[in-house]
């Protein structure tokens, strides 16, 4: 599967220039106790013109998906061969809780039908299909752990069975006071807003984040300006330039990453730029794809390194062919996929 286009909305802005700028600038503390997406980043009167009723979750996803298609330069309007898959840990839970709050406050006869319809998990993908005028299959995978990986597997299946020639695969997460409260009760939050991925701690600290990222995947190799994603095959380290570790403090014990850090190639983690998200590996995937396109190593934004892991310590333009993204779920189940440069 070749990456033809990328779209992203996160706490540092919207679009690849914002991602590139964040990778260059490195970590900056969040303005609050979590990494939120500013309303200014999801205002777009053109793309969202038919979406005034949409919630923040749908708007973030729609903008990221639209931008991924725009970045590819491909025309998808009216096509039934474009699939759309959105991965999320919790889906539009902010809207779901708003709906439940309204039932408690006003009774079930006085709840807003609009709020209800947006609490349906496939609402965001429906908006994306409307926005792109796509007629292909759509699906939302709401799975607490490793949902982005499941979306990649499904995208590959759709392509292998010739159901789709292109698949928009993305992830979206939203964070508000409720999730922050839950995080505070269940895990450790970093009060200074700094995720420290390379502590590989048994009790790591997280900083909740939100945003959306989408990839337009194409069967045709010619369009893969960011390289290709491979989810099967050799898991050895030979020929690998870098491991991207999804240590964000959300899944508990991160000591499990120590073996990967010792395995050989250079390692990095960009979770401190995006915040902690259960489907955050999608954002790391965007960083990896941009590094391959730019042929540039970006320094790990937070470099506390008590285990002397082989960190990517500084920015450097140099040949870069293969990056493996690694993520462990809540029960230490390992998911990994590899990005290879188009000419690598």
């Amino acid at each position: 599967m070749n990456i033809a286009g990328i779209g992203i909305v996160f706490n540092r802005g919207r679009g690849l220039p914002a991602l590139e700028k964040a990778l260059e600038e490195g970590w900056v503390p969040p303005t609050a106790s979590r990494y939120s997406v500013s309303d200014d980043f999801i205002k777009d009167r053109v793309i969202l013109k038919e979406m005034r009723r949409a919630d923040t979750f749908s708007k973030m996803a729609c903008l990221a998906a639209h931008d991924a298609v725009a970045d590819s330069g491909l025309s998808v309007a009216g096509k039934s061969s474009l699939g759309i898959i959105l991965a999320s840990a919790l889906g539009p839970y902010v809207t779901t809780f708003r709906f439940l709050d309204d039932i408690l406050q006003y009774g079930d006869a006085k709840v807003s039908p609009t709020v209800f319809s947006h609490s349906v998990h496939n609402a965001a993908v429906s908006y994306i299909a409307l926005c792109l005028q796509s007629r292909g299959p759509t699906l939302t995978i709401t799975q607490f752990s490793q949902s982005f990986y499941q979306a990649l597997l499904l995208a590959e299946a759709w392509m292998l069975e010739d159901r789709c020639t292109h698949v928009l695969v993305g992830s979206a997460e939203q964070c508000d006071d409720i999730l922050e409260y839950v995080c505070r009760q269940k895990i450790h939050l970093a009060e200074d807003g700094k995720i420290e991925p390379f502590l590989f701690s048994e009790s790591p600290k997280a900083v909740p984040g939100e945003g959306s990222v989408f990839f337009l995947l194409d069967k045709q190799e010619t369009s893969g300006k960011y390289g290709k994603i491979s989810i099967h095959g050799d898991n050895g380290v030979q020929g690998l330039d870098m491991y991207l570790l999804e240590c964000s403090g959300l899944t508990g014990d991160e000591a499990v990453y120590r073996n990967d850090a010792k395995a050989g190639p250079l390692i990095s983690s960009y979770t401190p730029l995006f915040g902690s998200m259960m489907s955050g590996i999608g954002f790391s995937c965007a960083a990896a794809a941009l590094m391959l396109k730019n042929q540039r190593y970006y320094a790990a934004p937070v470099q506390s390194n008590p285990h002397n892991a082989p960190l990517c310590g500084g920015h450097q333009s140099a040949p870069l062919n293969t990056i493996r993204c690694i993520s462990y779920g809540c029960h230490n189940e390992k998911m990994e996929f590899t990005l290879k440069h188009a000419h690598g």
Partner: protein, 93 residues
């Protein structure tokens, strides 16, 4: 209509404008920009049938009013002014 009722009507219009802008997610419109006799659907504010359902919910929640008859609803929902007058005349104290 006496002066007291006029004052009440003006207050209801103000509340309705704020409720419409907030609950219908009307972008780029401030409540004070809505005219007192603004037509709600089609031309005017440009609301649609989904907004009509939301207004029914708003009337229930905020004024205890139920609009069940759609023929009656057409007249009530014609403009901000007809809506405000319906609230003034029927709201539960």
């Amino acid at each position: 209509m006496d002066e007291h009722n006029e004052q009440e009507l003006a207050e209801i219009r103000k509340v309705l404008k704020e409720l419409l802008v907030t609950n219908l997610n009307l972008e780029d419109i401030e409540p004070e920009q809505i005219k007192d006799d603004e037509i709600l659907f089609g031309q005017g504010l440009g609301l649609d049938s989904l907004d009509a359902v939301e207004i029914v919910v708003l009337l229930q929640r905020n004024f205890g009013l139920e609009v069940k008859d759609m023929k009656e609803g057409k007249k009530i929902f014609y403009s901000l002014d007809t809506l405000a007058r319906y609230v003034l005349e029927n709201r539960k104290q």
